[in-house]
Subunit: 898 residues, 2 copies
């Protein structure tokens, strides 16, 4: 070791080496445990091995940095001192938990080992100390089972995929004639430990490690390795968490919530994570280990009487009033300290409260907004922080439709309202089916008894999730809330039959493929399709957006092709239209015929004749859109897709359409064949069409400008911006701009009104970016078409990338799908070059982005950083972009101050 | 006019305002006329209107700069003074020619008007002065005809496309019962003038302008406009001449070669333009206008006795010995002055010699080389100039195969050996057919009575050209030589029947589609296909290449996929292989089966099994290639194309191949469908295959390194360079390089030999260029794949661009096809960025180019300028690249000195 490096941080006894600011190094859990320790909150002592070790471990094929063992040894003996126990001691043994803890929480994604330190000798010490032999051997049994699975990987190496431990456990219960684990005797459990070890030896040819130190290093290695397991990778992919962050490992003294009825374990939120209401909210189980609550297998009890309502369950406030009081004082201390809603885990061991974890609690966006605004009112945080507390990506939840309250509906079951919103879809009973059906374009509801991390991909694919078991903090509930997906959990009224692919709710039988509706806000399961409505955005929402708007620098526009979309966009606060695609209009039933006639024309005159039929229709469209956006700029892009997109491709269709058009099928077929392209993305499209068939663009410009002039006559304020797509060379733009300006000015003169318009271009080809200085001599604005720019910069077809892009992300070659999150390294660099060159030539050039990225928070941040004037995104993402722009501006300010 | 600008340059009487260095402004013809004037060579007086006026005229919709008319008036009066005649005078009228003259010669491409200044009054002056009324009216008739066609555009506006002037002429001859124009009387011609003017009035509703000044401005405008006519555009496209150069207009006093038998007109070369031999070489016609010689309608007479040989024609040396002597002294003066072979035009008017033009003569490359070397020996030029005198693009001619001298052949006709080389192809009888058939991949020979500028596109498409009429300086001969295309001209023995699409040579009838062979060096027309052989490169060639090699800085490598190609490349002086594509080998009959087996595999194990069958074959290939290139570097690119390229696509083929493979047609079909891509260019190819199926690349690397090690054991020096294609992100390269290095090092260790190898990448995606600094951390070399880089930078599919790229070039939006000539503005800028970033990180990184551009002279120059280490091109283009690299280095040196 070249230099003594601090890889291990100790905590316990009111003093910790770390603190809450060290999340990157210690992980969220480790940093907060240290912080709590420093706050004099009772935390079992232990130590954290840093995320840096994880990185070294991953990069060096599972080797630790030199000297780590000595550091761990020192920290362990500190822990022994504070807890007054000794690791591996036979009379007074210290048991440990070994848990993962990344920079951000990844619930259930990585591995954990509990009760570590037990062997045939130490178990006796535990039995004696606890006075409960059954408990000791149950802990031992659990430990061997967990270690055998997590560290030694027995289950994954078992043929057929069954769980041999569970099989032995079931066999034992059967043999004893009992139904529950708790009914097994200490002797039974002792036998089970032996049987467990034997099957490990049989299957894996490994002796179960009896030496506690070997156990410890085995567990540490397993947790570091679990950072790279497939479900953790999937989770990170879904949540845009870089693979390079790594996890820390927290080694902590065990405390037991399952040592008898004076013990308990629970989780709680300092405010309601679903609504944001200011009330202490949690669940606990008497005589249980922590995992039992989260796993959702036993239905937990409410933490206090307020929450209990008229349920028969007993609350913690009733069962252990003093401990509850202590817990209340701890949660208040924590919330006041962190100035944020906390999600805490606690264990009560023989009447003594231990805090195992605190972290900022996950919440619905509705809750996030309410909590942020309340905390401003309470003086806990400022407005800037409040804005930053709401995750722009989560806003989607609010903007999704809900069940129409006036609709008739047949509620067939009720469960917990685990994640708000409404979802309609066909029932499927497995994650794989959900993914498959969704990829075929179907909307599905995933119905499971309970969900596990293996189901993540299916939950992601589904519209909503329904589970029969588990509470508000069960896997299904937590994950669905994170995804902004509607979820009804713990719906014990339904009986699921995976084999028959049906579920029963009372007398109603629902088969796979039947449509149901979920109301995640009410916890209702409804038969059939129920109408949904756009959400009434709350006053809180308006408040937070108002604050956000006051900070952001970027303008936010929408991509909208129809007056209806334009209306929605304006309602969501769009400050203009950044992309109005004109081809959409070409596809409409009553005009596609004229479009095809135009394409099949052999001469320019024929083409103009057909175009003249389209002109009044396009003009009508533009009139409506410009009117809807009165006073705001509307960027209209001239025809972009290759002409073959408008023609039929199957011979039967060709025959039919040829008959309709009154041409021979052969003529139409030969036109279709002639227009076929090897790489349509790189083909005869965009302004290339305008160069070959100037009459098409001329018609479109005429439609735009006549619409504008007519509205202007009616005193409607119009601000059309005419955009030429796919320019790669300034002369393309020059030629077409000349035509546009001449056409517009002629119409304006004829109409005798004054209409301000501008002419600009998409920057969506690398050549456009790299010659942006030339192009800016002609263009009055640039709109970065980052969809196509991503395709050309990467040389990657969006339509084909699906086959291998996931490989790239799984293997860590790319951090994100570049079509979702703007690639700053490559595409972003091209955009920056174009911005610099464009502004260099024309300082007042208007710069915006209209690719899908315009509504993705990290991409919006990039647009802010490089100084664009606006982003443009789909109407429903406008609020997301507004908030993301505010975040970008606020974070930028922080950086500048910092 | 804001400032007095010099738009008009006068010449005549031994004094000129311009000189030879002013070609850009005055055009080649104008600059040389001025130079000749200053050399005291007899040149008819006149003036040149500059190319700048052409540019202004083009850009301002046909408007001249202010004040031009005054400048022309002044120059005209100067001319009148020197020639002692007056423009428009009825007794002593000055007649003018108005000709185009661009920076480089574009023979026959633009318009010319002769005899300008004639009207019903001035014609009488000419008749009186010449003492030949018939001559005067014939000139008048020719003038009206030419003006009506060129300036007024009668022909193009005539329905049915006939030539009404020719029809009237034919009718007149028929009426008079004569066969030749020369048999018509002065009265007949006078009538024709009237009839010509009448038909102009009838068809165009224009009065023929009688005012000489109106005539002059009409002609000037027509010449400027002709710069943009379609055939001039085509010519410029073929010869890479920028549209922006424009043409000058030369207005010059007429002198007449057709005023009687003491008059003549001719063209001559100061050395033989075909072989380079040092002999005065030319053709003339007695009593003719200059156009008659070039047009190839009358077969011209040889200029001197040496050239005459045993032909019956009389030479100029015989007919006018004194004028011949004067001409000899003029040509020597010119050659010594210009230090280059001159192509001159002269007219003899009543025994007096006038020089109309001199310019550097076009020549075959064989002649260019010989002349350059001879002139070095004669002390006229230095070696550097000699190297610069040989056009790299022209070298192609030398490198094309010639007829095997030992082959049996049936010569069916003999003509003039107008342009050397051999050509084999199917006979076609029109330029359009030639183009069509060639675009279908056929090799064709264009057979025409004579060619005209309208035939250029067909000549370009054909392998060779055969004409029945015209001399060595006819249109067909000149253009074919310029194109480096084999041509047999003036083959009077063949009788062409366009209607039946046949030609007869003696008893032999050749139909369209029959194969013939041309020997352009011998002037032979041969029935059927004759074997051809690679040319014996002359000692002169070796000499000039040796000089070239001593100047160039760039290394030159070849793109070669087979040992045979590698051998040819080495023979042509390649200094390594810059691109060895491995997919070529996959397609070979005996291995495609294993490749398909590999693709259809469902598991990695199956895939590896199939790959193991391919391994020994690939190894054999690499062994042969590495051996062929012993001592030189060989860059081998791992598999690049998408896998679907190796599978059948038609269902009948799929069925057959599935049977062969022993799988069901459905399985194969579903694989084929699964691999289908929307944009294969942007699809699952290049290193993306290596990421998904590492075993494919592993097999290839194993084959390379085992081949290298086995050769090394046999003491063959091997220098393999392993190249990863389509990298866009450094991590792709990192992952694959790790595999390559591990595989190679394992094999090297196992074999116990030392093999130096390197690992690098193609830079063919914009993202690779823009992140070249990161990529250079892994790559030991960059090879710029400018084919794909051009596609992605432009967003332009090479396979689809054909539909509209010609539009772009016709409309002047692009100067060149960017797939032929590297686009410096866009693609070049990306390459420069990558060079800078790459060298910044790894100063000794090896940089090369392996796209088609590597053998294109202007692109080679660019590679020199930006400091690449090498270019790599197809084997036959290696000498071109070597010479182009020398030009680049020499021109660079000039720049630095200048």
């Amino acid at each position: 070791m070249s230099e003594e490096k601090k890889y291990v941080y100790h905590f316990g006894g009111g003093k910790a080496e770390g603190n809450a600011s060290m999340k990157n190094l210690l992980g969220g859990k480790g940093a907060n445990i240290a912080e709590m320790t420093n706050l004099n909150i009772p935390v079992p002592a232990g130590f954290t091995i840093t995320t840096e070790v994880c990185r070294i471990f991953s990069e060096n094929n599972g080797t630790y940095p030199d000297g780590l063992d000595a550091l761990v040894k020192t920290a362990l003996s500190e822990t022994e001192k504070i807890m007054n126990k000794r690791f591996g001691d036979t009379t007074n043994p210290l048991l440990l938990s070994v848990r993962s803890g990344a920079r951000v929480s990844m619930p259930g994604m990585m591995d954990t080992v509990l009760n570590l330190g037990l062997n045939d000798d130490t178990v006796k010490g535990i039995a004696e100390q606890s006075g409960d032999e059954r408990f000791a051997y149950d802990s031992y049994r659990r430990f061997v089972q967990m270690y055998g699975d997590v560290v030694l990987g027995l289950k994954s190496k078992t043929e057929g995929g069954g769980d041999p431990f569970e099989e032995l456990l079931e066999a034992k219960k059967k043999k004893r004639g009992v139904s529950f684990d708790t009914e097994l005797s200490a002797e039974d459990l002792k036998e089970l430990v032996r049987e467990f070890k034997a099957i490990i030896k049989d299957t894996l040819d490994i002796d179960f490690p009896d030496n506690p130190e070997d156990q410890l290093w085995g567990a540490i290695g397993a947790v570091f390795k679990s950072w790279n397991n497939p479900r953790a990778n999937t989770y990170r992919k879904l949540h845009n968490i870089p693979h390079t962050w790594g996890t820390a490992v927290n080694v902590q003294s065990m405390v037991f919530g399952n040592m008898g009825n004076d013990c308990a374990t629970g989780v709680a939120f300092t405010r309601d994570p679903s609504t944001g209401e200011k009330r202490f909210y949690g669940e606990f189980l008497v005589n249980a280990q922590g995992e039992d609550v989260v796993a959702g297998i036993r239905t937990p009890q409410p933490i206090n009487n307020a929450q209990k309502g008229d349920r028969k369950l007993q609350s913690l406030e009733e069962v252990m009033p003093e401990v509850y009081e202590e817990l209340v004082s701890v949660y208040k201390k924590l919330e006041n300290h962190y100035c944020d809603m906390q999600d805490i885990e606690f264990t009560i061991e023989k009447g003594r409260l231990w805090l195992l974890q605190t972290r900022n609690g996950k919440r619905t966006v509705r809750a996030a907004i309410k909590i942020a605004i309340d905390m401003v009112k309470e003086g806990l945080i400022g407005k800037e922080t409040a804005v930053l507390r709401v995750d722009p990506a989560q806003l989607d939840q609010l903007l999704h439709p809900n069940i129409d309250p006036l609709a008739k509906k047949k509620v067939i079951a009720k469960g917990l309202p685990a994640s708000p919103g409404a979802a309609v879809g066909e029932v499927v009973f497995s994650a794989d089916e959900a993914e498959k059906e969704a990829s075929d374009g179907k909307k599905v509801i995933l119905v499971r008894v309970e969900t596990s991390p293996e189901d993540i991909h299916g939950m992601n694919a589904a519209e909503g999730v329904l589970t029969a078991r588990g509470g508000m903090t069960s896997h299904a509930a937590v994950v669905a809330r994170g995804m902004g997906k509607c979820c009804v959990a713990g719906c014990g009224m339904i009986k699921i039959d995976y084999e028959k692919k049906t579920f029963k709710a009372g007398d109603t039988v629902i088969k796979a493929g039947d449509v149901i509706t979920l109301d995640g806000g009410m916890g209702e399961v409804i038969k059939g399709r129920v109408p949904t409505i756009s959400p009434e955005l709350s006053g809180d929402f308006a408040q937070i957006m108002e604050w956000a708007d006051s900070y952001r620098k970027l303008n936010v526009r929408a991509n909208a092709d129809t007056p209806a979309d334009a209306g929605i966009a304006r309602n969501f606060g769009a400050e203009g239209i950044g992309l109005c695609r004109t081809e959409h209009m070409f596809f409409e039933e009553n005009r596609i015929k004229a479009v095809r006639e135009m394409i099949v024309s052999s001469t320019k005159d024929e083409r103009i004749k057909a175009l003249n039929k389209i002109l009044p229709m396009q003009k009508g469209d533009f009139k409506e859109i410009l009117k809807e956006m009165a006073g705001l700029p509307v960027t209209i892009r001239l025809l972009d897709p290759p002409l073959h997109e408008f023609l039929p491709h199957k011979y039967t269709e060709i025959k039919e359409i040829a008959r309709e058009m009154g041409v021979t099928a052969e003529k139409l077929k030969s036109k279709v064949d002639g227009l076929k392209e090897f790489n349509p993305m790189l083909g005869h499209r965009g302004c290339r069409l305008g160069i070959t068939y100037p009459e098409i663009y001329e018609m479109q410009v005429t439609a735009i400008m006549e619409a504008a002039c007519e509205l202007k006559r009616e005193s409607v304020q119009v601000r059309p911006e005419i955009m030429i797509p796919l320019v790669g060379e300034v002369k393309e733009l020059k030629v077409l701009k000349e035509m546009v300006v001449k056409t517009c000015d002629d119409i304006i003169e004829k109409c005798g009104v004054k209409v301000d318009y501008s002419v600009g271009t998409m920057i969506e080809l690398p050549r456009a970016a790299i010659t942006a200085d030339s192009i800016a001599q002609e263009a009055e604005f640039f709109s970065f078409g980052t969809n196509d720019l991503t395709q050309t910069v990467f040389g990657l077809s969006r339509d084909d990338a699906g086959n291998f892009l996931s490989d790239y992300i799984d293997k860590g070659i790319l951090e994100h799908d570049p079509f979702m999150v703007l690639d700053r390294e490559g595409v972003g660099k091209m955009v920056k070059i174009a911005v610099k060159k464009g502004r260099g030539v024309r300082p007042d050039i208007k710069l915006g982005i209209c690719g899908e990225h315009g509504g993705e928070p990290s991409s919006v941040e990039f647009c802010h950083i490089i100084g664009l004037n606006y982003v443009s995104c789909s109407p429903y993402r406008v609020p997301i972009a507004r908030l993301a722009a505010a975040h970008a501006a606020l974070n930028d300010k922080d950086d500048k101050q910092g």
